[in-house]
């Protein structure tokens, strides 16, 4: 028995005791709070908003933060989009979450209901004196305002704007549309040339419902009233849906669109099938190649009601109560907002900027489409809260990429129900989901 003389031999009982001890230790370690408040650093969690260059540069900016005396440094973590809601929810619930983060557009409103959000009023007051407050594009800060205070600070913008393929419109012999009637005329000309003027992806993994709501807002409609209650069955909304139904009936929309994912739609743009459609700001870059240079942003359309409008999504950065110090969170926010310019000047694809000082840089303005979206589209854009207001609220989560919205858009675009019935069904669904 050589082991008997070996001092390093572990007895069976010792092994069991060790294993049990390690199990208990692991369990205790898993339960130990190491949150934004416990680690002594400002934990900044950000989403991969842009292309592959975004996260490394964003991390570099974050780690370049040099806190003032007595304030904690910052750490960086990129959070992937897959199941990110669960990532944040479990981390925040277990007090292991960030002190500062971005996330979904409605996340801050939901966490504020759980008393987890540190309101940004004090920070914004401070920014009034150093000019940062006035640097935000018009109306943006208001979208974050709730009766209790500002739940977050706008960070970047997504919107559904009118894109067209310049060469394909020229081939069809038409000019870009300026109102709903000219939109129909251009669609007709494109149809004759074998193309679609109302391109969209309305499948479960598409964003067609955003286009539908965008056109409702374009006509002065929307989903919520002044009291932030669903108010879907309105003349403006019915008229907008009838306009879309007309386009479907006349063959201006690809019949496969009701099942298209955004990837399918991008294929159709590249295949010269989609010549016009409402899409996100980064469409041209996503399509890439020769098509990228052919993609143009059109003008906002004047609706049948004589109105202009579009849907946009102000993504934001929020502060949490679970922080080493609120002063530290605010100091980091100030640093980050003053130094995040590179994310746009180095074209990392981080949506549209929220600060004028960034939108006015030569690097940003070199992209004429992006500049036009900020100059011409952003001022007429409204949030999900339209037409009742601009400030978002937690119940907006009911319409932000939910199955109910996809089904609503598909039912209209597949001509299965009348516009009024589709809106009535949506109204009932939203009311039943209200909290």
């Amino acid at each position: 028995m050589p082991g008997l003389d070996n001092p390093l031999t572990v007895s069976r009982r010792g092994l069991l005791a060790g294993a049990s001890g390690l199990t208990v230790l692991a369990a205790l370690a898993a339960c130990a709070p190491t949150g934004g408040g416990g680690s002594g650093t400002i934990k900044f969690w950000n989403m991969p908003w842009g292309n592959t260059q975004f996260t490394p540069l964003d991390k570099k900016i974050t780690l370049g933060y040099r806190p003032g005396k007595g304030l904690p440094p910052a750490s960086y973590q990129a959070v992937q989009w897959a199941n990110f809601t669960t990532t944040f929810a479990s981390a925040v619930a277990s007090n292991t979450g960030p002190a500062v983060s971005s996330g979904s557009g409605t996340q801050a409103f939901q966490f504020s209901q759980q008393n987890r959000i540190a309101y940004a009023d004090h920070l914004l007051d401070a920014w009034k004196s150093d000019g940062l407050y006035d640097d935000f594009l018009p109306g943006l800060l208001d979208t974050m305002k709730t009766p209790k205070g500002y739940v977050a600070v706008p960070y970047n913008l997504d919107m559904r704007a009118l894109w067209y393929r310049k060469s394909l419109l020229e081939k069809a012999g038409v000019q870009p549309p300026t109102d709903w009637q000219s939109h129909l005329d251009v669609c007709e000309a494109l149809k004759k040339a074998g193309m679609f003027g109302f391109g969209m992806a309305a499948g479960a993994q598409g964003n067609g419902f955003q286009v539908v709501v965008g056109l409702m807002i374009n006509n002065g409609g929307g989903l919520f009233d002044e009291d932030q209650k669903p108010n879907c069955v309105t003349p403006e909304n019915i008229q907008a849906l009838e306009y879309m139904v007309e386009m479907v009936r006349k063959g201006y929309m690809d019949p496969g669109s009701v099942s298209y994912s955004t990837t399918n739609a991008q294929t159709q743009w590249k295949n010269d099938k989609f010549a016009m459609g409402f899409e996100s700001p980064g469409l041209a870059q996503v399509l890439g190649g020769a098509v990228e240079d052919d993609m143009m942003i059109g003008d906002p359309l004047v609706s049948a009601n004589g109105k202009k409008g579009a849907l946009y999504f102000p993504n934001n950065i929020m502060m949490y109560k679970n922080t080493p110090t609120q002063k530290g969170s605010e100091a980091f926010m100030t640093y980050y907002f003053k130094n995040m310019k590179q994310l746009w000047t180095q074209k990392t694809g981080a949506g549209l900027p929220v600060l004028r000082s960034i939108a006015e840089t030569p690097e940003f303005r070199s992209d004429a489409n992006a500049a036009k979206m900020v100059d011409v589209w952003q001022p007429i854009c409204k949030t999900w809260a339209a037409p009742g207001g601009d400030a978002l609220f937690s119940n907006v989560a009911l319409v932000d990429s939910t199955p109910a919205m996809s089904t609503f858009a598909q039912s209209v675009l597949s001509l299965k129900v009348t516009p009024k019935d589709a809106l009535s069904t949506l109204q009932k669904t939203l009311i039943s989901g209200m909290k």
Binding site: T85, P255, G256, V258, Y260, G433
Partner: protein, 323 residues
């Protein structure tokens, strides 16, 4: 050294003859024997404890937590208030649930029996040793081997747009514009066919191994008795592979009912929720509608149905064993 070893060996053999281990005293069981058994039992328990703790943490805790969530009106952020069985009542009264349950049933029946029929047919075809049979087997396994994400993207490319290969083919055949994923009925058919396509290799393997275990002498005897090919298949092959068949049905039923990626990657449950299965509905209820209570309730109801089906099929296996 060799003398000591021989002595040790002799003692060990002696102990072995007496039926005791190397460290055992070889005494008849008495008070000290039961104490010893107790010590051994405790040792075994202690050995198993780390694994049991891990299993409880990884499996039991989430299940219990989920069960509690199904009794609350919460979301992913807030656990919500206790509402008893209200979520189950809401789910059972929801037309979305019954629509999803209906398609889950179709999806499962087609998935199980479609893949079994094709798998069995191919297993029978590939049973005789033929030149190149191995290559065929490898090729036929590909749908099972290829990651589901790749398969789903390939099928999407095949059918999604009017310019995709299959719609172009149907148009060339004079069947007009076929919208495989945009038409609700065609989308259901497409999803079911896709499921059969990715599942038949599994069935083929199960059936191949079952067929290999059937004694060839039985077939010889049936041939001598003048049985036709159909009679041989019906009265010999099927009964003799019944056990494997039922096991494969149980497994495939579980695979189909719990299959999230097939539907989610190909259609996302659309269009108009026509291809939404219960597992996709549970996912979208929890992670897209943020209603954890009803979403988890759907998952538990689904599990209940699966248990009932599995028990029924398992009893069939026992009957086969008895027979």
């Amino acid at each position: 050294m060799s003398r000591v070893s021989s002595e040790t060996l002799r003692r060990s053999l002696d102990r072995a003859r007496k039926g005791v281990g190397s460290s055992g005293a070889g005494r008849s069981p008495g008070k000290s024997g039961s104490r010893r058994r107790g010590k051994v039992a405790w040792t075994l328990v202690l050995f198993a404890l780390p694994s049991v703790v891990l299993l409880v943490l990884l499996n039991a805790y989430p299940v219990i937590y989920a069960a509690l969530q199904s009794l609350r009106n919460g979301d992913l952020i807030d656990p919500g208030a206790f509402v008893g069985l209200a979520n189950y009542a809401t789910v059972l009264q929801s037309p979305d649930f019954w629509r999803a349950a209906g398609f889950t049933l179709i999806f499962t029946v087609v998935g199980v029996f479609g893949s079994w029929a094709i798998g069995l047919a191919l297993a029978l075809l590939l049973r005789p040793r033929t030149p190149g049979g191995g290559i065929f087997k490898v090729l036929l396994l590909l749908p099972w081997v290829v990651p589901i994400v790749v398969s789903a993207m390939s099928w999407n490319w095949l059918v999604a747009t009017p310019q995709s290969p299959l719609p172009m083919l149907t148009k060339a055949l004079g069947l007009g514009d076929t919208l495989f994923l945009a038409d609700p009925t065609l989308a259901q058919i497409t999803v079911c066919v896709f499921k059969v396509w990715i599942s038949f290799p599994f069935m083929m393997m199960m059936m191949s191994s079952a067929l290999a275990s059937v004694d060839v002498n039985v077939y010889e005897a049936s041939r001598v008795d003048g049985a036709s090919a159909w009679q041989t298949f019906r009265h010999i092959t099927l009964p003799m592979i019944a056990r494997s068949t039922f096991i494969s049905w149980i497994l495939m039923t579980i695979f189909c009912v719990n299959d999230f990626p097939t539907v989610f990657l190909l259609t996302g449950g659309g269009p108009l929720q026509s291809t939404q299965t219960l597992v996709v509905l549970a996912y979208s209820t929890v992670f897209q509608n943020f209603q954890t209570g009803p979403g988890v309730a759907i998952a538990f109801l689904m599990t209940l149905v699966l248990v009932v089906i599995s028990v029924f099929l398992y009893r069939r296996i026992r009957k086969v064993d008895v027979a």
